[in-house]
Symmetry: C2
Subunit: 534 residues, 2 copies
């Protein structure tokens, strides 16, 4: 799934930290310096102003009766989370998905949503819910009800048992697939809704739930699902994605945008241009046969400078727009923290240097405001241990472009195809696996100011990032529905897409991480703050 | 294993035909034509003479009593083959290997070899046997007693049961792992020896058996095993590798040489030159991190012309010697058959054209007399279905050079390293997995003439190839021991390294394939022919 990094908080949100693997006997050469990389175009900043989230007024509302109801019903609320994680919903394996959709719908009905529906699509269905509170404002709540497959080893508990585990560092956690990604925070949000209704009999804002069951597959059919409610969704005031946003130290970051992604396979295969068409042949036949693998290597090499850091596809950078004044202020605001964390970031990533020998400051702007072009995978022929001598009939590179405004997948496809054709690589196919444009929300949107103000109320001033280098298909909200989007929430969880995924339920004493009750109170306040926001 | 093609007979021996796989929606472009490939140096022939194996006098010897003994003992002889294939000896999995070595040694002892030994090495042991017949001539018999692992699916019988199966096209076959590669022909040879001894009480030549248990691993320790008997082996008159050399149509080809091989991994990994050193990181980090996969693509592209068909490493072709007059005569001899089979060869390989648009005639010379440079495998990062966005810390290309005289692995390593360094690719490691020089035997060697003469006696005029494009470590015999080497034998088997491997035991009526009894008689005659050869 392309937006892994979205689910990680802090400035570390920009980073996808992997597990350690085999070490390398290292050389001492700097190929990029020799290669003379073409620098990507830079847009000088026009402002030195810095956004400071602590200047956004803290939300002042008090909802003590609702908070008390939440506290009094914690046992029941925890059970609601456990009920959700116990329902398998592995989209990649079609395991329990429809049952989970029905569970979500039935919970919405039980809460009093006037309208609910299982929304058909070409893939797994969506779930729709409409709660008409007679309020002026309407919030769309984006939910995903599917989860990643289970890792074959490493789980300490049954991934679908909903076990509560005492962790010596964190306190009591719910350990289960989906605990934090994303059933825990989603059901916590509905617990908050339940407590508001129990105490006040009405909600401060109308709600539209628009859930999907294919987030872990890259949301291939979410646009189709959205389409069935598009006119109504467009009338809303914003979109919220419930999320455990705190790091283990309690810090929160809020990204105002994501890069888009164009993820394709570049495929070389034998054909009229030469090379075996249907199956590998013996390696000694290279003497008389063309090789798709060699063609792929040359096609790839034609796409970037020799250091691999600048894309040579004509026009690749043309539609990159200069950072807006707001984006510049946000970047200026996070720069000090970015610099302070630079060495730790190198350690965490196990790297000795930044791209092209950039300074840490340059990497912030590169990360935020320039597209990247990455090889995610290469595969051809024999990939096991030792020797096998074959001439593969097929070679594939999985590559992705992370796009910034105003780049588009359609533009990438056209420009890459033209480049390959112009360089004689008409034999290289491009097969798109995923593609959607970037998304951006203004920090001045009432929903965003309400979220920051609510965080401030809880003493957690968020780090507001202009953008994540990671990708998520939020364009459906920001571009198509023209709505601001926030991913927000107190709480902490981790190990998404990994064994022993968890969400903190009752933090240990002294922790700055919110427990479930506080997570729910945050959502209560957020709904009231949005109702009052201007 | 690098010499798969050696085990395949006919002119198809030059080809490694793979199973059909997915088809390709094909374009109509010829990239090589556009790319303007640098042509490899060609050496014009200085003779139009053509070698004709049918002109070698057929062996005239008659050994009717021995033949009768073979016929009378077929049941016992077949059981000997079954006994060998029933003993597992999967070298890659250390499964039964030592037991097989002991079985070989014990069979040699039972035959009357005066000296036998399990020969220790850093890997699986060799087996030595010395039969002093008091004869003038001595034949070294190379044997491999290991087999490939078993394919998980596709076997119609227990691969180690030694089943005799009736095939409607072939007749009765022994179907088992090792049936033809190589236990069947090897034990058939020993059956022949047994019958000679039973009838004549002595052998026409002295025998040195020098078996290894790591052929399927690329013979990494065979040089060490040879070394323990080197002085004695050098006194021999030649080396014979028993082989079922017939195609299903009964034809035989004899290669007088093999190309050498230099099989290495080119490895790009993060380090001081940039990129993550220990583990993959999130793909969005490409914006600020160097990528080993991009570096590998550029390093590969620096190695060949854009069509992938000419190596650009300086000096790569320098030590390629012109074909000798003998090699030219052999090439001229096989050209008519090569041309006649060219279309069928394209069909079998599922290719639309030869390398660089060559003519069929050019491909013969390219195949025989020029080195090739192949990508056997590419692997980096995510290679599964769909999308996963990672920046891999490591990328590996498995590549091989098939060398012709006088190229050497040492030369390749030096020249490739120098090229990569000169082009700024000091960050690319070269890890050698296999490497040995080519090997060549003269068609005029008494052992070779004896083998051709014996084939001619049986009415099977062999196609004598100057060389295989495939590789085998025969240099240990031809270069180190300075002995001629033949791979010879009647008989037919197939599906080496595949399910349902077989050797024909009793061919159906009308078949031109020799059955086991005739295979054994051939070996009897070959030993006498060698004894009489000048």
């Amino acid at each position: 799934m392309t937006k892994t990094s979205v689910s990680r908080r802090g400035l570390g949100a920009l980073l996808g930290l992997g597990a350690a693997a085999a070490a390398l006997p290292a050389g001492a050469h700097d190929p990029a310096a020799e290669a003379g990389p073409v620098k990507a175009p830079k847009h000088p900043f026009t402002t030195t102003e810095a956004f400071d989230a602590s200047k956004v007024p803290a939300y002042k509302g008090k909802h003590d009766k609702i908070y008390a109801h939440i506290d009094a019903h914690q046992a029941e609320h925890v059970e609601n989370l456990r009920r959700w994680v116990r329902q398998r919903s592995i989209s990649a394996q079609n395991d329990g998905v429809l049952e989970m959709a029905k569970l979500v719908e039935s919970d919405l009905k039980a809460l009093g949503f006037q309208e609910t529906a299982i929304v058909p699509s070409k893939g797994h269905p969506g779930v729709w819910g409409w709660f008409d509170a007679g309020a002026k404002k309407t919030l769309v709540v984006y939910m995903m009800y599917d989860v990643q497959p289970i890792e074959p080893t490493g789980w300490k508990v049954d991934a679908f048992a909903g076990d509560l585990v005492d962790d010596p560092k964190l306190g009591q956690v719910l350990m289960a697939r989906g605990a934090t990604n994303q059933k825990g925070p989603e059901r916590a949000f509905l617990n908050a809704v339940a407590s508001i209704l129990a105490v006040k009999k009405k909600l401060p804002v109308n709600l539209m739930i628009m859930a999907e069951g294919e987030e872990e597959l890259g949301s291939p059919n979410y646009p189709e699902i959205i389409g069935q409610y598009e006119d109504r969704l467009k009338t809303a005031d914003g979109v919220m994605f419930p999320m455990n946003s705190q790091t283990p130290a309690g810090a929160v970051s809020m990204p105002m945008g994501v890069k888009g992604i164009w993820y394709v396979e570049l495929i070389a295969q034998g054909g009229p241009h030469g090379g075996p068409k249907e199956a590998e042949v013996h390696g000694s036949l290279k003497s008389i046969l063309d090789s798709p693998a060699w063609r792929l290597a040359h096609a790839l090499a034609s796409l970037t400078t020799v250091d691999g850091n600048t894309c040579l596809v004509p026009g690749f950078y043309d539609s990159v727009r200069a950072p807006s004044a707001e984006e510049q202020r946000l970047a200026n605001g996070v720069l000090p923290q970015w610099l302070a964390e630079a060495d730790a970031r190198k350690d965490a990533l196990k790297v000795d240097r930044w791209i092209g020998g950039m300074t840490a400051e340059e990497t912030l702007y590169e990360n935020l405001f320039n597209p990247s072009f990455n090889i995610d995978g290469l595969v051809s022929g024999y990939t096991g241990v030792g020797t096998k001598t074959i001439l593969p009939h097929r070679a594939v590179a999985k590559v992705d472009v992370r796009m910034v405004p105003n780049q588009t997948p359609q533009e990438m496809m056209a420009k890459f195809r033209a480049h390959l054709d112009a360089n004689g690589f008409t034999d290289i196919q491009i097969s798109q696996l995923s593609g959607y444009p970037p998304a951006q929300t203004s920090v001045d949107a009432p929903l965003v100011r309400a979220a920051i103000g609510t965080f401030n109320k809880y003493g957690v001033t968020p780090t507001v990032l202009p953008r994540l280098a990671g990708s998520a298909p939020y364009y459906v909200f920001t571009d198509r529905l023209k709505l601001p989007l926030v991913t927000a929430g107190l709480g902490h969880g981790a190990a998404q897409h990994a064994p022993n995924e968890y969400m903190v339920i009752k933090p240990r004493a002294g922790s700055k991480v919110a427990g479930l009750a506080e997570v729910e109170k945050f959502y209560v306040d957020l709904l009231y703050a949005l109702a009052e926001a201007k």
